[in-house]
Symmetry: C2
Subunit: 246 residues, 2 copies
């Protein structure tokens, strides 16, 4: 009975997926704030109360969408990561950053759902943790593989305060073994700063100032990669040996 899953169960999965699809559509149209269960139900030709058989509340529906969105972003990022598996570390870094930004621009409301204002009484359940770290994890992969290839320098900036070093120590041994606390701190900061670049552009804060957004972002992402210790692309002399010629 667990093999074929009763016809009812399959119908349930089908309806669940249909609801999520329609919800995603309405999310893309109007944003999370105006996503209404009733509208989704109306569009699906059912009555609002029927939706509660599938999602106990509106927030639960949003959680499901959040997980899906994290995974969609994660897929886009991983794809960029693997497509450039043999490329220069810096090029990989910029490629992953570009993939994240592009996904955000293509799905602004979903991005806002992930990294925008959290809904008031809502605490992200653990289900969102695993897919939520896929983007920062992709960044660490680049750095670790660059390190393994002997192409990772020390991160830019001053020495890491002891308190931060001790704070990040457990993470370095559990999650990303082989990475120095300095580099991990730099990657975490770069991740947050990457989100800042994307959010600031997407939420309209650059409106009066920056118009060459893609180029501006690329330049910023490149500097971000360099700040974590990735070398400039091989064979290219940028004319400005920032991290020294050592």
């Amino acid at each position: 009975m667990t093999a074929i899953r009763t016809a009812r169960q399959r119908a349930r999965d089908e309806v669940t997926r249909t609801i999520k699809d329609e919800a995603r559509r309405r999310l893309a149209a109007d944003g999370a704030a105006k996503l209404s269960l009733r509208a989704v139900a109306r569009e699906l030709g059912m009555v609002s109360s029927a939706l509660y058989r599938y999602f106990p509340s509106r927030d639960e529906l949003l959680t499901a969408l959040i997980v899906d969105s994290y995974n969609a972003l994660g897929d886009a990022v991983d794809e960029a990561l693997e497509r450039r598996a043999d490329a220069d570390p810096c090029a990989r870094w910029v490629g992953v950053c570009h993939a994240a930004r592009r996904w955000a621009l293509a799905h602004p409301h979903e991005y806002a759902l992930l990294y925008g204002t959290p809904v008031p009484g809502y605490a992200a359940p653990d289900d969102t943790m695993v897919p939520g770290v896929r983007l920062p994890l992709a960044l660490t992969v680049i750095v670790r593989e660059a390190d393994r290839a002997g192409r990772l320098g020390p991160p830019e900036g001053g020495p890491l305060p002891d308190e931060v070093r001790e704070d990040l120590a457990p993470l370095t041994v559990e999650q990303v073994p082989g990475l120095s606390p300095e580099t991990l701190a730099a990657v975490l900061a770069a991740w947050a700063q990457l989100l800042g670049l994307v959010s600031t552009e997407l939420f309209g804060q650059f409106n009066g100032a920056v118009t060459a957004r893609e180029r501006f972002f690329e330049h910023a992402a490149t500097r971000l990669g360099r700040s974590v210790g990735l070398p400039p692309p091989t064979g290219e002399r940028t004319g400005e040996p920032t991290t020294g010629s050592d």
Copy 2:
């Protein structure tokens, strides 16, 4: 009659201020998403329709709160800027970053109103532009005064793409004369990245990873300052000449 403003007008201003105060209180309590006109009116002992004599819509009320919040943040930042008027440029930079973060932590919902998910159909009116640039403007002030004191190096990272240089050229002559496009681009990016650091922490994205938040932020802010060309604090040898010994 324009001098004293008729008693009616004064009463109107009084009520307007009272409404905004109560709205701000409810905003701090429940967040922008659940800010309801009816609740504000109820708390004030009036009926909801009466509020529409003062604010034509809920979004207009939010706009008023946004302007106030931008100014509150701007005041906090300017205070930090002037208190360290004679300090080291890098210390000033970090001080301003700290002031922004502290204000955000103290007023999370107001910060979210400014830099979080924009409300769906809402376009920020021009009233919000001037107070909205006070934070990035404070950052440019630090950099410009450091430059005037001969203590500003070139920003870290590769050369600025021509497209970005031309894009930012008008800004450099109109808004921040005397700043090179390279530095302006670095400051704009640093601003967005600063928002990223604050938002990521405030919106709970660091939850499982970083616990020594203040120190982590300070370190990241310091690196940010260095990335725009500010020198490390005088008299301190950090032992790592990142931007070269030129």
